[in-house]
């Protein structure tokens, strides 16, 4: 195991991998996990303005029970908030200002490009389950949950949306939407040029942004054109971004997972062919390159105020959600 994976370990146990593709919502999240997730909420390190009154402290002064400040009365102010005691003492009108509690906007962006349909356990299945769990947490905490998938060949390669759902009862709807996303490459139906890349998808999301909130990007971030430009679109101030890099065990340690001999590697996205002969020096070079790639991305994320979380698809979902992401400050 490479250095970065040793230090930033996301593999918590060696439980058997989940191979089955989810067909029902129950396959994405089970009742036991749901009950445990009821206790958890999504945390934003920033305080954003919500749209409707919610359970979250807002920047706005409003009508919650939490006192914030006084200010002089001006015409038009709600007389209900005048502090009459002060008026009695000072004969001047002051208005009590309370902290507003609002909802949180949670946007989960799922990379549905063909490269995600790879690995054992499958990276996309892992991303689906993680999105489902995080979405569920958002719903139960009355946050405004939006979901975006991009690059899915089965759906024409464009950006798919599920916008602004709230409340636990929308869980099934969200689950169905997640199940519909399919990164399986289909050479017949998709023109590769129409597939939206990461940069365009992020630009799209940034342009369509309604309000502010937490954005979680689930992807392997193995983009040949780079991830920097895309992340720059979404880190402009609108979102508290969490970049969750999902990698399969085969990508982390190819030698230990049956990658050997003389191979013709075919990129599932652009069909790029690479002929290699697996040798110890090549494996070492690969590991070094992967470490360097991940380290570079983490550095980039730190500079941009993005939280970078590296996840192995072998990771147990319960532990990831209830322990690791809490430690990393995404959940509480």
């Amino acid at each position: 195991m490479s250095a970065i994976f040793a230090s930033n370990a996301t593999t918590f146990s060696n439980k058997p991998a989940i191979l089955k593709r989810p067909e029902r919502v129950d396959d994405l999240i089970d009742g036991r996990l749901m009950s445990r997730l009821d206790q958890v909420d999504v945390v934003s390190r920033k305080i954003f303005a919500g749209k409707v009154q919610g359970e979250r402290r807002s920047k706005r002064r409003g009508i919650s029970v939490e006192f914030a400040d006084y200010r002089p009365y001006v015409h038009g102010d709600d007389l209900r908030f005048v502090d009459w005691n002060i008026y009695g003492r000072l004969d001047r009108l002051f208005l009590k200002v309370f902290l507003e509690e609002e909802d949180l906007s949670l946007l989960i962006a799922i990379d549905a490009s063909a490269s995600m349909r790879w690995g054992n356990p499958d990276k996309f299945v892992f991303a689906q389950r993680l999105a489902m769990a995080l979405g569920y947490i958002g719903l139960v905490n009355h946050n405004r949950v939006s979901m975006v998938s991009f690059g899915s060949p089965a759906q024409g390669g464009g950006v798919q949306r599920l916008s602004n759902i709230r409340g636990r009862r929308r869980t099934a709807e969200m689950g169905q939407w997640i199940l519909r996303q399919d990164p399986t490459p289909d050479p017949k139906s998709v023109d590769p040029t129409t597939i939206v890349g990461f940069d365009d998808a992020m630009k799209n999301i940034a342009l369509a942004r309604q309000g502010r909130g937490v954005m979680i990007v689930l992807s392997d971030f193995l983009f040949k054109q780079g991830y920097e430009k895309g992340l720059r679109y979404v880190t402009g101030g609108g979102y508290d971004v969490f970049a969750m890099q999902i990698l399969s065990p085969e990508e982390i340690d190819p030698a230990a997972h049956g990658v050997s001999g003389d191979l013709k590697l075919v990129d599932v996205e652009d069909k790029d062919v690479n002929e290699i002969t697996i040798t110890p020096p090549l494996l070492k070079a690969y590991r070094d390159r992967l470490n360097a790639y991940c380290a570079k991305m983490r550095d980039y994320c730190i500079r941009r105020g993005v939280t970078h979380v590296l996840v192995d698809t072998q990771t147990d979902m319960d532990e990831l959600l209830l322990s690791y992401l809490r430690k990393r400050g995404l959940l509480r």
């Binding site: 191979l263 590697l265 075919v266 020096p281």
Partner: protein, 681 residues
Amino acid sequence: MMWLTPLTGILLAAATIPPLVALYFLKLRRVPRPIASTLLWKRSLEDLRANAPFQRLRMNILLLLQLLVLGLLAFALAQPQVETGLRRDGKTVILIDNSASMNATDVSENKDDPEAKQKSRLDLAKADAIARVEKLFGGSGLFSGSAGEVMVIAFADRAEVRCPFSDSRSQVIDAIRGIQPTDGRTKIGEALQLARAYTTSVDPDKVDPTMVEQAALVIFSDGRIADLAEQATKAGEQITYARIGTMKADNVGVVAIAAERSPDDPDRIQVFGAIGNGNPFEIRADVQLSVDDRARAITPEPLVVPAANSGAAPEVDPAKRMSDVRVTPGREQVVFLPFAQPRDAIITVTQLRKDDLAVDDAAALVVPPAKRLRVGHVNAAKGLLDLLLGEMALESYEQLSPAEFEQVIKDATFERFDVFVLENYTPSDGVELPPGRYLSFGGTPVPELKSYGEHERVFFRTARQDHPVFRAVNPVDLWVASAQAISPPRDVEVLMEGTEGPLMFAVDRGGVRVLHVAFDPMNSNWPISRSFVNFVPNALEWLGAAGDALALAGLQPGESAVVRLPVSATNVTLVFPDGHDQPVSITTPGQFAYGPIRRTGIYTISWDEPGRSERQQRRFAANLLNAQEGMIVPAESLSFADKPVQGTATSNARSALWPVLLGVAMVLLLLEWWVYQRRTS
């Protein structure tokens, strides 16, 4: 580099290497494997290539190994030979030195190796030459190919063609095996002439009729060649010098021996010797004197012989210094006390120090019995000569008139005289000098010395001072009023020359030995000089000992033995030093001739003589007595007059290159398998 079967190798290479490379050009059948993104793999490959400059090479290490294996196999099948200077096609002349120094037993650096002690340098040279011939013919068995023609010449003081150009392997090898050791000196000139003669062919149809087919000459020798500086290589001639012998060769030998009976007391013999040291360091050797194989005396203390002197700076490596041909051996004289020996005897001087060359460790002389001369003086004029002869210690002295002398010839009673002194005597018509020894003043004793006129007022110019007759004779003041003008034939030796022409001759023909002085002493100032008084006894002694001269001086290998025998001798046999005998036919009455002498030792001639019941015999010795031949440290290079030819050390253990190549190929094959296993596992 030489290839015995290049075609096989080329065929194998052509049949296998291009297909192998072609197979590699075909794409490896790789397993297609979909992957989420090739992003990281692509960059890893780039990293790997950027970090490893030989990545492409390493990627194809299997191809490289397989190419190497195939290349080596093809190389091995072509049977490469790394012998330099060896040419397969064309002509090769193998020259093997079988001189005395090649009898040295320093073939192995390991002096304690008992097997090596058995072998001489010649054995090694023959083995090396056979190995070379085997290689020329491509070895024996499956891979043998045809060779060019090979000629074998053995050379010592004479060269001998052992086998003319032949393409028969067995004939050449038999010829090499048949080379026998000799104790001769090393001379290469004749061998080179022979080799060149055989490689030159004349085509009368061509404008330039002489065609020289350049041959490769391979010389197996220790490089101690006396006449090397007189030889030049020819343009295009390819000479290889296979150096035989080790640089640690150690030799001390007897380089001179002489025995003399005292004129006053002929029963006593005094023996002189000299020991030569061929080593670059001082040695101590005991020297022993034996008479008839019984030790008579030994030096009371070991004789100290100085190191051989090269004249080079002392810091020069001794081995290198000794390899220089110009080195002069160290030399020390030894003199034994006179001892009484009236009878004839074989005197042997032996140095007792162990060394690598045995042949020069002893030298022998046959000393004739003590005797005085019987002299006949023909046509004696009353004068100084008459007086001189009368006063000499002779067995008998008789004066004869020319008529009496010719009567003696007619009666065949001339054998009662050892020497005749002829004074102004010219034989009458029809009379010829019989076999015998003559000191002649003036006249024309033999037709070869017929004068064509007279020279007036002749002064002495030069004399053969090394000749025995000039011992203690220095005729520098000689002046002759009138001398015979003689133009001698080539085979007549001129011993003294005057300003106008030769003055003294030695003729040796068919048992007739004449020492002729071309003037009457009374016509010169010679009789009043002391040199004349010394000359006459010297001349008589030299002539008188002529039969025994051989015995006194001994022979050197390469020379011919000429021994005076009684005219009536029959059934002549020569017994060699190793004991075997050989009947010899006498072509010239009264003279035995055999040559050249090959080995050192005591030779015995025996014959029957009418009137004597027992076989008569006479012995003579052949000794090496050659300091240069005793320098046995091999020369590093052959310094021909025009250029040096560097020597290559030879050894017995040499093998063809192909087994090594096959071995390496197999190791590479194993390596290739291992690399493949490592990759696929």
